[in-house]
Amino acid sequence: MKREQKAKATNEFNQVVMGNSLSKDAWRRLRKNKMAVISVVIVAIYMLLAITAPILPIYSYDEIVNEHQNLLPSLTKTSGELMWDKKLSDLYTQAWRQNRLTVTDAENEILEAWVLKGQATKVWDYLLEEGNRQLAEGSFEWSAAEKRTLDNLEKKIASDIQITIQKVWQTNQETGKKINISKMAVKDLVQLYADLLGVPTEPIVTQYTYEITESVSKEIQAEVTDLSKEEYALMAEQRLSDMSGKDYDKLIKANIIAKINSTVKDMALYELKSDASQASTTYPFDKEMSITDTVSASIKAAKMHDRRYYLGTDRLGRDLMSRIIYGSQVSIAIGLIGTFTSVLIGVILGSLAGYIGGKVDYFIMRVVDIMYGLPYMLLVIIAMAIFGRNILNLFFALAIISWLTISRMVRGQIMSLKNQEFIEAARSMGASTGRIIFKHLVPNSLSVIIVFSTLRIPSFIMTESFLSFLGLGVQAPFASWGSLVGDAVGGMTLYPWRLFFPAIVMTIFLFAMNFLGDGLRDAFDPQSKNQL
């Protein structure tokens, strides 16, 4: 008892007593756990990367560059150099097969053995080195055809440029004012496009009308199946006529702008590829170019084969690093949202069952038992099949099935808490059931719920990965860690990096999550409190 009235919280020895809440205490203990702290940092880095992916200086995750398929990860070489090496080793291998590139018998044996074992990469690497050596020595020479191929490739690497049109403007010749074409009226846009092509406006109108009708009827076909062509056409017409003039204009505008952009791109590319400009421009650049007298555009351009792929590329020539980063977005989101939804459902149902008991408890728990009895994967697969394969449905399917464990756990926790005296105290004060559950019972089970959720996230990611691996998860062009691994399995021996990087990224995250969960459990566990 503190009889003396003091503003400060001091004890009888005049020592100031510091406040200390349970969560503060847990946080202090968590900070002492090195593994958990490292895990927190790792998880934070992952989250940061996933969230900031759109503004990171990385290539787009769905940009396909056909020439860049299956490029090796490299920190020093550009994609052009890698392509060159690849072509060379290709040609050397051919030459070796044609016995033009001669090696010793012993070497031959080794190479044949590699071929038999399917270790093609070793053969390529070896022959590349050997061929280059022999070429330098002069004991091997290219054939004329091969020389041509290489020359072509060299030229291509030197000249291929990739450009992006960011904005297009039209300059009004009388006032000299520049207008962004996205802000122009439909009629002016059509006129501008016609001018660019050098055709009258009528065929353009015909074209976009046709295209819009097509796309609308495709939309309808995706929504309703099993109708005759006439019915589809009728519905499309109906929908178009229902559309307000503004909405229709929007469709036209999108159509025409895309066309203008692609035309401008063509024209700019033509311009840049001309000998004069090839000599004078330095890449990469980001500047405004005038396309015609009246039209100008802000253009970003870079040498196509100057791109660097630090983690290599996949089978369609997409940057693996950017796919992994965007993949973590999907994977982590599934982990978090899935856990959140299942915890929400589980806590509500579990606490109701635990607190009210009796028939409610019996009913909820039998539902849980039955759902436990059903094969979990099968349910997810069926749900995916019924509702369609997209990410949202995947969240949904996972969440409705995975609340079972948490609801059982919360129920047990609540049942052990509900006979505590502080609950009786609340009841004797006339507290309502909702108040008792959400003000008293749930906050006291929170530590268990937090620990469980943390440990639950990895299992969600694993499930999603498994589904994606089977091809039931996220669909291209989106990626997740699981789908990346699944895609990579096909070329595992030839292109091991495609498997290795997503797998290691995923493993590190799962490890971190598990260590964090363990750390949280230790932090919340009063047994490890180390106090009297």
Partner: protein, 338 residues
């Protein structure tokens, strides 16, 4: 005092209260195969301003009695009349109104406070609940509630500076004070105290007993006080009821009980209670009861104390002794005094 109590209206009257907990078996269709007879028919009255103590060993049903009166359990049978309202059959609203006047203090100062709430939240909880239901008279604003919390903390001897602390930062005695402040928040008429001092240290126990006494004097409270410690009960109570196996075996003025115990069980209890004085303690002759308390599942045909009674008679085995008055304000359930 006895004359005074008889003329006054009782505040709380318990009539033939029974609380049985069914033992069920069976998979889907539950079948009752027996019952734990925690409280097996007790009757008593509590008068305004007095303290009725209930004493007994663990498992005798004294805590259950309090919880049945507070309607934390639905009683199996019997009536609990409070201020003219039968709590057992009261509607939800009537019960809520009555609850304002009936508050509990619990035994375990560690378990009776929500560890996730601050002292402020704990003490204000009854006020918040009733103000949310618009049943607070007069209505209180947030500031008024805040002042009330500080007032209550001072009243029970807690430093206001610790208002935003959590219960685990307090010692046992301080927590019990928090519990008392919470019980006082709504200005109740009666406080049901379930062994409020038995988990406390000796020096703290006397502080809390003094505090409860002061509060009774200042606020005109009525207590129904439970304890297993005879000395504590004797000190705090005006009248004492001795419980054994779910029934009351003796009910009397507290002084009278110590000087003139009638029931053999009361006698054994009194002689077993150690007295902190070696001079007396060494000279005392104890009545040592043989055996343990029988299981409360058993249905009794005779006296509930028959198995352990040192004075048992043949008659006791088959006839249940009723509680009857032996002298003014002294009732006993034993065939010896028939």
């Amino acid at each position: 005092m006895a004359e005074a109590t008889t003329t006054r209206q009782p505040l709380l009257t318990v009539t033939d209260l029974k609380q049985h907990f069914p033992i069920e078996s069976g998979f889907i269709l539950k079948r009752q195969i027996g019952a734990v007879r925690a409280v097996d028919g007790i009757s008593f009255s509590v008068y305004p301003g007095e303290t009725l103590g209930i004493v007994g060993e663990s498992g005798c049903g004294k805590s259950t009695t309090i919880r049945s009166i507070a309607q934390l359990y639905k009683p199996t049978a019997g009536k609990v009349m409070f201020n003219g309202l039968d709590l057992v059959n009261a509607s939800k609203d009537e019960l809520l109104k009555a609850r304002k006047d009936i508050q509990l203090i619990f035994q375990d100062p560690y378990a009776s406070l929500n560890p996730r709430m601050t002292v402020r939240q704990i003490i204000s909880e009854p006020l918040t609940i009733y103000s949310n239901r618009k049943m607070l008279q007069p209505e209180m604003t947030k500031e008024e509630i805040e002042t009330r919390i500080e007032e209550l903390m001072e009243r029970v001897g807690l430093n206001k500076a610790f208002k935003n602390r959590y219960p685990h930062e307090f010692s046992g005695g301080q927590r019990q004070r928090i519990g008392i402040a919470r019980a006082l928040a709504l200005n109740p008429k009666i406080i049901l105290a379930d062994e409020p001092v038995s988990a406390l240290d000796v020096s703290i126990q006397s502080q809390i007993l003094n505090l409860l006494n002061d509060l009774q004097k200042d606020l005109g409270l009525t207590y129904l006080f439970i304890a297993h410690d005879l000395a504590v009960i004797e000190y705090i109570s005006t009248r004492v009821a001795v419980m054994y196996l779910g029934i009351i075996v003796e009910l009397s003025e507290s002084r009278d009980l110590y000087h003139n115990p009638l029931h053999p069980y009361t006698k054994a209890l009194l002689s077993a209670a150690p007295i902190p004085d070696p001079a007396i303690e060494r000279k005392r002759k104890r009545i040592i009861l043989t055996g343990d308390v029988p299981s409360p599942i058993k249905e009794h045909k005779g006296c509930y104390f028959y198995e352990r009674c040192p004075m048992r008679m043949e008659h006791c085995a088959t006839n249940i002794p009723p509680l009857h008055q032996v002298s003014e304000g002294h009732e006993v359930a034993c065939w010896l005094y028939e």
